[in-house]
């Protein structure tokens, strides 16, 4: 038994040393909280409207890449939000194990009293490679996958979480449409119901 306790203690030391050295670069729960808190009391926009805007943008301005940014872009940009990279298996909506921790961090943030009672939309984005409607579908499924993981595995109250996919309609770096930085999941605080 003594031997095991010693093993436990040394493991704890290794862990804390590692945490210390990563503190500067590693994403933390508090960063997510700080970015998301302080939402406007009432946000006059909902998930359905955001989703509809993306579908309409593709229909209205067809082509390989969108010549027009999303009409709601400015409004979305004004809301409290956070971008996080989540890795999915190639061409699939399955969250890769290396991103479990990232999903857990979102759960850690959403479970704090600082963010309770507010509603959030999980927005999936892709880069601009491939067809726009295909990317839209994939991003919808990926955002749903994150929402489901949060609502079931991590018990974030489902009624506070919506998901939408914007495909490549709102690139983070429009100058490099195919860049990896465009593939991301965004959390937007839609305020109190």
């Amino acid at each position: 038994m003594n031997k095991f306790i010693l093993a436990g203690v040394s493991a704890a030391l290794v862990m804390s040393a590692a945490a210390g050295s990563q503190a500067q670069t590693k994403l933390s729960r508090n960063e997510i909280i700080n970015s998301l808190q302080g939402a406007q009391q009432e946000v006059d926009i909902n998930a359905d409207q955001i989703q509809k805007a993306a579908i309409e943008n593709i229909e209205k301005y067809p082509g390989a890449n969108s010549p027009q940014s999303l009409p709601l872009a400015d409004k979305l940009a004004s809301l409290r939000q956070f971008n996080i990279e989540i890795t999915f298996h190639f061409d699939s909506a399955t969250i890769a194990p290396e991103s479990y921790e990232a999903v857990g961090l979102i759960a850690d943030a959403l479970h704090t009293p600082y963010l309770q009672g507010q509603t959030f939309v999980i927005v999936g984005h892709t880069d601009a490679k491939g067809a726009r409607d295909y990317n839209l579908e994939l991003s919808i499924k990926r955002a749903q996958a994150v929402r489901e993981a949060l609502a079931t595995t991590f018990r974030v109250p489902g009624e506070t979480l919506a998901s939408v996919g914007l495909g490549e309609e709102q690139l983070r770096d429009p100058a490099s449409p195919d860049a990896a930085v465009n593939r991301r999941v965004q959390l937007i605080n839609l305020g109190y119901k």
Partner: protein, 141 residues
């Protein structure tokens, strides 16, 4: 990452052995699920590639394949589920345990947006040990 698994295993053993030590830690959801990724990541890729992290999909798939998955993964699955459960329970408990302290030290503080928690954190030296411990266990400090 094996260390992480071992460490948390011990946390649980200690909790189970000495239930009166209520201050035994809980871990956050990220730290808990990280153990699953580390212990079972390879097995998930090999046997459960299309299983979902949602609706217990990964856990069920690993369970169905328990003869094929690594010993470490089989051992840590239950640990991870237990850790998530423990944190959820602690978070459900904290507002109840701290109700009296909140009424005493946070009079007039508007509830919501974490205002009460902020107040209790600030009042830590006066707040009861029980409530401070509950805040720690919930991971709210």
């Amino acid at each position: 990452m094996r260390f992480a698994g071992l460490r948390t295993l011990f946390a649980i053993v200690i909790v189970a052995g000495l239930p009166q030590v209520a201050s035994a830690q809980t871990v956050g959801f990220a730290d808990a699920i990280k153990i699953l990724a580390a212990s079972c990541g390879k097995d998930i890729t090999a046997h459960c590639e299309s299983a979902s992290l949602a609706n217990n999909g990964i856990m069920q798939c690993l369970d169905q394949n328990q003869a094929k998955v690594s010993q470490q993964c089989n051992a840590d699955r239950a640990v991870v589920a237990g850790l998530i459960q423990a944190r959820l329970a602690a978070q459900a408990e904290a507002p109840k345990v701290c109700q009296r302290d909140a009424a005493q030290y946070c009079k007039g503080v508007k509830p919501g947006a974490g205002h009460i928690l902020r107040c209790l954190l600030k009042a830590e030296p006066s707040v009861s040990k029980k409530c401070n411990t509950a805040i720690d266990l919930a991971g709210y400090r």
